[in-house]
């Protein structure tokens, strides 16, 4: 995977994850192009389109567009599942997630993403394990004022 973008129906960026090194200018340009292209699509079109040498998979959930760019040999249908899995993880964490949750807790959205994907690949295929990892990390944050304590979540 090359990049993942979340943006609203007005084209406002809510999350950006880049899996390859790029300059700020390039990123801005890509964001502009993606929002333009995806927002212009007809409502009942297929969720795939070809852009330069990449495949773009996008899906709308309520007021948010999830836009994932993958390389040509990757499986588009599975990419749709990847997007869906991420939404499920967000939903479990926030409880009936909506766009506002992601706006006000963007850093949490990133933390969840970083437990699910890494370097453009899937890191963990189990929903429960990702959720538990996030919960434990959150608990660690709360204990910052005292000292560390080990949290043993699951065995080998």
């Amino acid at each position: 995977m090359r990049f993942l973008l979340l943006f609203s129906r007005q084209g406002k960026l809510r999350l950006q994850k880049w899996f390859t090194a790029m300059t700020d200018r390039e990123k801005k340009k890509i964001i502009r192009e993606m929002t333009t292209i995806v927002l212009a699509r007809q409502p009942r079109s297929c969720n795939f389109l070809q852009w330069k040498d990449l495949k773009i998979i996008y899906k709308r959930y309520a007021s948010l567009y999830f836009c994932l760019a993958v390389e040509n040999q990757e499986n588009e249908l599975l990419a749709l599942e990847v997007i869906h899995r991420y939404v499920e993880l967000l939903d479990k964490y926030f409880g009936n997630v909506c766009e506002l949750d992601i706006i006000f807790n963007f850093e949490k959205a990133y933390f969840i993403l970083d437990e699910f994907l890494m370097g453009g690949e899937i890191q963990e295929t189990s929903k429960q394990i990702v959720n538990r990892a996030i919960e434990s990390s959150d608990m660690l944050q709360e204990d910052d004022h005292s000292e560390w304590y080990e949290v043993e979540l699951f065995g080998p």
């Binding site: 999350l15 599942e81 434990s136």
Partner: protein, 823 residues
């Protein structure tokens, strides 16, 4: 200083801004506050400030002044700080700045931290944006963690290793030992990331690939894991719509693909499991189809047995009928990849594919169109073309150009009859005429010329099309060219294929003149029209009307039209005797390779109307008359013809050719273009060196190459003097000096030359065509010879002149060129 506002607070505030300006103001204010807070080195609120900065960065505002702060957060002991610090590093830092290297030490420490979540953060950051230097420094740590028993860390380490290998491929070897036991893990996270790591290694290195095939027996292991996934019961942790861990299944299938490619043994070992997956997977949801899709891709790529391949194509065929657009799209894309190798199997689904042309979705339509063109063959051409032409009629403009080109290509390859071919072309030109690519016009003209028996039919149809609509330029251009060529067939009503129409000469000329004045015609089209009118002067009887039109355009503002008109005018006035030969019917053109240096071959002075160079020279089957005698120079061996002032066939230069064939041209009446042939800039570069008909340089032989006597007979002597006074060393510039020792002038003197094929020749205008008697003067003419292969220069010359009332003609060969003239 009051505590900096909380993140949520800031977000709320910024969202209340009603204009861009208001938002910018708020942001600037907050940035200033954050900056001063940073300056105070405040540890308590640094985290909060950086978080706010990250939010503002997402809105598009600059946040680089927070980069160092991120590093400080990473170095902190508090987990909260580290979390935000690493996030900031991933968002704000990139490998282009040296700042990122400062992270290396922190990451190294955190990789060895006692808390796995801190280790996880470090691995994640390294695996997302680690630069090559960082990867080199920390690869050892990653490798260590790859061998840990903690599955949470192991899976992260595996993906981190993937990133390291991508950045520094040479380090791949060091991870090899750690991969030994990866696949015996039970944990799916580790399994998945391990498969990714193995895939990366196999893709990058054929040696690794061979190693994993032979030594590690990877294929049986993968087959076993996949089998367990399919056969095992419901597993709540990994279930997606009734399928167990589809992500892992797809990843394994992909690795199997790489292992099985071009390898019989591996392919054989996976045949069964592939068949099993293909038949047992639930297809009601997208998940199942994703797995089937990956299976099909694998089957097509490895050396599978034919039964399996047919199974795969049938799956794709079923996909085509699925209600889900995405699945149809994916099927079309895959079929496009397999159509070359499994053509017959894909043909079976042709009707479904053609139906997809009518789909509403743009992506699907495009894929269906590409696939349809790939499926056209001699058997189905009529049916397919009907569908494709219907598609061309109704599709969006973005498709029309590609579709039109595709139709032309297919028609050319598989046309069942010439009439069908012409009809198809007509259909495309009339329905999508403005989208047809420019290079189609000369191709079509060539096609039409070569279908000799269809000329009457073609010109009649094109004429009728013109009557309807003159807005589509390619159609108009082809039509005017045809009318110019075959107008006689049009008015004589010779058409056999359909009912001949009654057309008078005047009506035809009306149409052509209409094109000249219409606002819809581009300059190129006007050029075509004018030339067509001119050609009709030898085919029609109403020559006076044509003469009038031609002379009117002699004062056209368009330089191109003006030049043509003036030259045609000259044809009428002074060179009427040549007109019929020049405007003769075009011969059949042979198609030559489209790219590649073509020899400069003359089209016998016949103006080639197309501005885009048709790269085919007419072969040497021209009727004999004055102009063609040049060919006799060749005498049947391999000398290339060089006509005075030959250039690649462009109209302006064709005019230049005329000028030079006819010697000095004194133009009467009307403003004349400059006597020197106007040089279009697209001539071969060696002509660009300040070309004009005047000699470019003084006669002083600066190069010191000795002159030669090339010819001396019957009182006519021709000397050659040599120059190399131009920047291109491959060009020899020869000036001929013709002198006459007899007591009578030699008039109508014409000098022609031919050189071997490896050379190119250009003759500029002679100083005059009268060689005065008794050496009272000389006729000079400049020849430029391009000799890129530095071969020995030879030349055949032909001289014609009138002397003492009779015509004299002589041929000679010049072999005594001094070596310096061609070395």
């Amino acid at each position: 200083m009051p505590a900096p506002i909380r993140l949520r607070e800031l977000i709320r505030t910024i969202r209340t801004a009603r204009t861009q300006a208001e938002e910018r103001e708020m942001i600037q204010k907050e940035c200033a506050a954050i900056r001063s807070s940073f300056r105070e080195e405040d540890n308590t609120y640094r985290c909060r400030n950086v978080a706010k900065l990250l939010y503002m960065h997402m809105l598009g505002y600059p946040a680089h002044f927070g980069q160092l702060e991120c590093l400080k957060l990473i170095a902190s002991q508090k987990f909260t700080d580290k979390r935000i610090g690493y996030l900031g590093a991933m968002l704000l830092l990139d490998e282009r700045q040296d700042v990122h290297l400062l992270m290396t030490n922190c990451i190294k420490n955190d990789l060895n931290h006692s808390t796995q979540y801190v280790q996880g953060l470090a691995l994640c950051t390294l695996g997302c944006m680690g630069s090559s230097e960082m990867c080199r420094d920390l690869a050892g740590e990653v490798e260590k963690l790859l061998k840990t028993s903690n599955s949470y860390l192991r899976k992260k380490a595996a993906l981190c290793a993937v990133h390291v290998i991508r950045k520094v491929p040479e380090l791949m070897e060091m991870f090899l030992p750690a991969t030994k036991n990866l696949l015996s893990e039970k944990n799916h996270g580790v399994l998945h990331t391990s498969v990714v790591l193995l895939t990366e290694m196999c893709e990058r290195s054929p040696d690794m690939l061979a190693h994993f095939r032979k030594n590690e027996k990877l294929v049986p292991q993968l087959v076993r894991i996949l089998k367990n996934l399919i056969m095992s019961g419901y597993s709540p942790e990994h279930d997606v719509s009734g399928i167990s861990d589809p992500f892992l299944q797809v990843r394994i299938l992909r690795l199997l693909r790489i292992l099985g490619k071009n390898d019989d043994d591996s392919s054989e070992a996976m045949n069964d499991i592939l068949a099993q997956v293909a038949t047992n997977t639930e297809t009601s949801k997208n998940v199942g189809n994703a797995i089937l899709y990956e299976t099909v891709l694998t089957i097509m790529d490895i050396k599978s047995e034919s039964g399996l391949r047919v199974l795969a194509i049938n799956i794709l065929g079923r996909f085509l009928l699925n209600n889900d657009k995405n699945i149809r799209y994916v099927a079309l894309t895959s079929l496009l990849k397999t159509v070359q190798t499994d053509h017959n199997a894909v043909q079976r689904h042709r009707s479904t594919i053609v139906d997809c042309l009518k789909d509403l979705d743009v992506s699907i339509k495009r894929r269906a169109m590409e696939l349809s063109f790939a499926l056209v063959n001699g058997n189905n051409i009529r049916g397919m073309m009907k569908e494709l032409l219907y598609f061309l009629d109704s599709c969006d403009p973005e498709f029309k150009a590609d579709c039109a080109s595709g139709v032309f290509l297919a028609a050319e390859k598989y046309a069942p009859s010439k009439r069908w071919h012409i009809d198809t072309i007509m259909r495309v030109l009339t329905t999508a005429g403005s989208y047809v690519r420019d290079d189609s016009v000369p191709n079509l003209i060539q096609l039409i010329t070569n279908s000799v028996e269809m000329h009457a039919y073609t010109v009649q149809r094109l004429y009728k099309a013109l009557l309807d609509d003159i807005s589509q330029q390619p159609l108009v251009q082809v039509a005017s060219w045809c009318i110019g060529e075959y107008g006689d067939l049009l008015v004589s009503g010779q058409c056999e294929e359909e009912e001949p129409i009654q057309v008078t000469e005047d009506e035809v000329l009306d149409v052509l003149e209409g094109l000249l004045v219409s606002n819809l015609s581009t300059p190129v089209t006007r050029g075509y029209a004018l030339t067509a009118i001119m050609k009709l002067s030898t085919r029609f009887s109403s020559v006076n009307r044509i003469k009038k039109v031609v002379s009117i355009y002699g004062s056209s503002i368009d330089v191109e039209l003006q030049q043509r008109a003036v030259e045609y005018n000259a044809l009428f006035k002074k060179y009427d005797h040549m007109r019929s030969a020049l405007l003769e019917r075009m011969p059949i053109m042979e198609k030559t390779a489209s790219n590649g240096p073509t020899e400069i071959v003359q089209t016998n002075g016949e103006t080639e109307p197309s501005v885009v160079e048709p790269k085919h020279p007419p072969p040497v089957t021209l009727p004999t008359n004055q102009g063609t005698d040049l060919l006799d120079l060749l005498g049947g061996n391999d000398m290339a013809l060089a006509i005075p002032n030959t250039v690649p066939t462009k109209p302006a230069s064709a005019g230049g050719e005329l000028l030079d064939l006819l010697g000095d041209l004194s133009l009467s009446g009307g403003p004349a273009p400059t006597p020197a042939p106007s040089v279009p800039t697209s001539q071969p570069s060696f002509l660009l060196d300040g070309l004009s008909s005047q000699p470019l340089f003084n006669d002083i032989a600066a190069a010191g190459i000795p002159p030669i006597i090339a010819y001396n007979k019957n009182g006519l002597k021709i000397d050659f003097t040599f120059e190399r006074a131009n920047p291109n060393p491959n060009i020899a510039v020869i000036t001929i000096h013709a002198s006459n020792t007899t007591e009578t002038d030699m008039t109508d003197f014409v000098f022609q030359a031919a050189v071997p094929k490896t050379f190119q020749l250009q003759l500029l205008s002679p100083s005059s065509n009268v060689v005065p008697a008794l050496n009272q003067g000389t006729v000079t003419q400049v020849i430029r010879v391009l000799n890129p292969q530095k071969q020995q220069l030879r030349m055949r010359i032909k001289l014609t002149y009138t002397h003492r009332g009779s015509a004299v003609q002589d041929l000679a060969e010049v072999n005594n060129f001094p070596p310096q003239s061609w070395q």
